[in-house]
Symmetry: D2
Subunit: 122 residues, 4 copies
């Protein structure tokens, strides 16, 4: 992909790195700690949805919980990008590679409409 | 940010949307289901690290578990991007907005070297 | 509660402690590691349910996934009991204390039928 | 195991069932919802530990975070017991059965001191 194409995520990656450095928080940003923090934020995201009916969940972005959803998604992105940066992993590269592999693993004819295999491509 | 700057993540977003549509898997991609899938993949990521010492974790990308780390990070990205797409949330926009708010919430002079407040900016 | 009343859970607690000791695995059973392992197993439990419809989920113990559910619930119990043992926390004591507090926090008249407050008592 | 041996956990199980019934919260206690709630509480537990050093984590029950640890462990127990009750699974029975299987899967001579296989027995 083009150099431009990675700028948006890179901007965030560098911004988070600088944010941690300015506060001398790098000492806390070990892979295990960041993985735990990521799990904690995903837990907070789940908590928004846990008692909602499927219908309420589908309409959540038009409800009073919309800002909470945005806030928790932001926190998940932040820890994921920080963790990947610390590990030296290019998130978009590995995701695209996995999607390509999933095209081979899950031929449409074999899996159409069935959830036996992971229905996202993961 | 520029139109170019969002292409890389957009490419993945659209690719995942098409992948699901081709397999008639959209029926499974409700917000609650995708949030659960995201939590499942983060769990798989944690399992790679859970018994590693801090030193082993710091060196994981040079170990035999490197491909597993890439694979699980890919799965986490995939479900996060899918979930955000279904909810209509721009991940980079909300993350940048949160980081900006965190600059105000955590002035360096107040928090330098201390983990009392979230040390990533989340 | 009576001494008898804690035997069942105690039996498991001691059994897990011995199991770890016999294998010299205590070195891995730090609080952070066990918390990560607990999150990993809860993630595996969620993965069984993530694509099921509410109806399929309600019937899961009569389906081909029943043994998987039992297996993952077992793993969750195992790590929870191990973690509590390492921390010196009595799980039933803290749970009963929390339920008592929740009786005060959530008077039925205030919350009947509404999910605004945590609907389990947590 | 004796009838007495299951009373302590049973007492909690029935208490949680009654608590939900009194508040007409059973409608929210579907297996998927309870699994999500369980993941949310485990996330809250992880958040207490995420920035602690291994030494601080080992001493957490003597620190200002001790009550938070007890509170989150209580919440995890509560949702786990509620989920198992809704599914009709006996937690101690499945855990003991799994531990027995793990004695066969992980002979001490094969695994002593090594974390390759799950070091809890899960």
């Amino acid at each position: 992909m083009t150099q431009d194409g990675v700028d948006a995520l890179d901007e965030l990656r560098v911004g988070l790195r600088d944010f941690a450095a300015e506060r001398d928080w790098g000492q806390f940003h070990t892979p295990k700690n960041l993985a735990m923090a990521l799990a904690g934020e995903v837990g907070e995201l789940l908590e928004i949805f846990q008692w909602l009916t499927p219908e309420q969940a589908a309409e959540v972005m038009g409800s009073g919980r919309a800002d909470d959803v945005r806030d928790e998604l932001a926190d998940v992105v932040i820890y994921l990008v920080r963790l990947a940066d610390v590990l030296g992993v290019d998130l978009l590269e590995v995701a695209h590679a996995k999607l390509a592999r999933n095209h081979d693993r899950f031929p449409p004819a074999d899996v159409r409409g069935r959830a036996d295999g992971p229905p996202a491509g993961a």
